[in-house]
């Protein structure tokens, strides 16, 4: 369990993390999402005591990370992928970490096997591919069999097979009752595995919610209708609580506030031909984009994000 209370980190004028309050519960995968520069990594560094908060506090299993007698057993963290010395072999790197806690050599071999690094365990870690480096970082995170696993952008640089492996790993760890806290700036990577979401932008908490709630809040229950006579259908469907949008001269309408069934019935009643009638559920990705649009640190000059017909 991770508890942040008014957690704040300032670097001179810039506030990287701004009064964050959140709790990460055990037994579930909690996604930590936000655009680049939202303060995710800084928050994670504060959790394991690498950075000191300017104000506020964050605790792990009831205490500050540094106050635990076996910190690696409380939180296993993958921070940036390259938290290793490139001249040391994977095995020696893990062994050096293991010595500090009195972890047996056998456990080192276990995590090497678990992460599929057997064939390269004695190679210099500097020669590893990005994906191998991530696996080594995850091996180090799991080394002390921690009750909380915290991974910063774990799928970066992994191939599809590796991404799938991470997903299974995360759900497996959560099923074992561990606290799993995973950051990402890509919602799509997380959508399949996370139970809970903590979304930040510019250091502030934007949402502390579940996947289903986030979609609902974003108003993702509109219906797409393609019809022979959009003008007449508009008139037929118009009513209180119903919102209809569509481009001029287009046969496509987007209706919110009515069910598929009632739209279909109304069209049939008035003899309007429908070519398509489908529920357009908003993707998690779009809901996330909406939420964080104002908090994106660096806007690209050509606005790449265009979720039609929806206000942020």
């Amino acid at each position: 369990m991770i508890e942040a209370h008014q957690l704040t980190k300032r670097y001179g004028e810039k506030t990287a993390v701004d009064r964050l309050d959140f709790v990460v519960q055990p037994g579930a995968v909690t996604g930590f999402l936000g655009p680049n520069g939202a303060g995710k990594s800084t928050t994670m560094r504060m959790i394991v005591g690498l950075d000191a908060p300017t104000s506020g506090a964050v605790s792990v299993n009831g205490r500050r990370y540094a106050q635990h007698s076996a910190p690696l057993q409380e939180v296993g963290a993958l921070l940036e992928a390259k938290s290793i010395h490139p001249g040391r072999s994977a095995f020696n790197h893990l062994m050096a970490q293991a010595y500090t806690h009195g972890i047996a050599r056998r456990r080192v071999s276990e995590v090497i096997e678990l992460t599929g690094l057997q064939s390269v365990a004695n190679k210099r870690a500097g020669a590893f591919s990005l994906g191998m480096g991530q696996r080594l970082g995850i091996a180090a995170a799991l080394l002390a069999d921690p009750s909380t696993v915290m991974l910063d952008e774990p799928v970066n640089g992994l191939d599809p097979e590796g991404v799938r492996w991470i997903r299974n790993l995360l759900t497996g760890l959560a099923a074992e009752g561990r606290t799993v806290f995973v950051s990402s700036h890509l919602m799509s990577e997380m959508a399949l595995v996370v139970d809970h979401l903590i979304i930040v932008g510019r250091g502030r908490l934007l949402a502390d919610t579940t996947v289903a709630d986030l979609i609902r809040q974003a108003g993702g229950d509109s219906v797409k209708v393609i019809t022979a006579d959009p003008a007449r259908l508009r008139a037929v469907l118009a009513g209180s609580g119903v919102e209809i949008s569509g481009r001029p001269h287009s046969k496509e309408l987007l209706v919110t506030g009515m069910s598929l069934r009632s739209i279909g019935l109304a069209a049939a009643q008035h003899g309007i031909a429908l070519f398509e009638l489908s529920a357009k559920t908003i993707s998690l990705e779009e809901a996330f984009m909406d939420l964080t649009r104002d908090a994106v640190e660096y806007h690209s000059s050509t606005t790449g994000i265009q979720a039609p017909g929806r206000a942020a």
Binding site: G49, A66, Q73, K82, R88, N92, A96, H101, D145, G177
Partner: protein
Amino acid sequence: MTTITATHASPTAPAQDPLAPAARPPYRVTGQRVLRSEWAKLWSLRSTWITLGLGLVFMVAFGLIAAVQYKSRISSGQHIDADFAKATAVSLSLFGTNFAQLARGVLGVLVTAGEYSTGMIRSTLAAVPHRLPVLWSKSAVFGVVALVVGTAGAVITFLFASGVVSGTPAALTLGDAGVLRSLLGAGLYLGLVGMIGTALGALLRSVAGGISVLVGALMLVPGLISLLPSAWQNDIGPYLPSNAGESMFALHHAANTLTPTAGLAVFLGWTVLALAGAAYRLVHTDA
């Protein structure tokens, strides 16, 4: 909180009631374990072996070359410059110390600053969030290694060099007064230079910065001091790290230098100062 032990973890756990809270392995960070870890880290890098070996080669080779040069000039009856005229088997043997100290100090810087430049420090401090044990362990482990290698280098060089110059005015044996003290002093000096290197690396968190300050303090500052009025030179000079260190292994106590014991005390003072600075920064600055 109770945590279910992973199926992949601790296969040694006895097959007991699966519903009972699984006993978590009694992991714990201790000072001794941090030392063990730093020891393993030091020897698992190739640069350690190369730099230590190089330092040893500098020490032995340069000492032998000095001894052979001395011998050939003495026996050929050539004019001998003042430096050589006062040479002893000890001073000839320790001729390479200046070069060995560079190798030793640079490796010391690498031991700490190398963790910052590679990112390893994040792993290190995540495992030991109290931080200071890491600094003490790194300097202790490397200081002792540098001391042992330095002493071995000094003694080995002396054994060969004293053979070369036997029968000349420089001849000495291990049993002569002050010889063993000088050789051990040289080893101790190299050990402390290694510790200062680790401290500078941790203080500056940069390999280039650490090496620059080290070289500056040990080799450039003594030269710059000669620009000062001579009265000041005599007041300040002996207390500079390099001069104080040199007093530790000088066979004869010359005017305007410290006694070996005072030299050791002053050089220890510099080491403590560097370590204190490193400790302050380590504790007070984000990693």
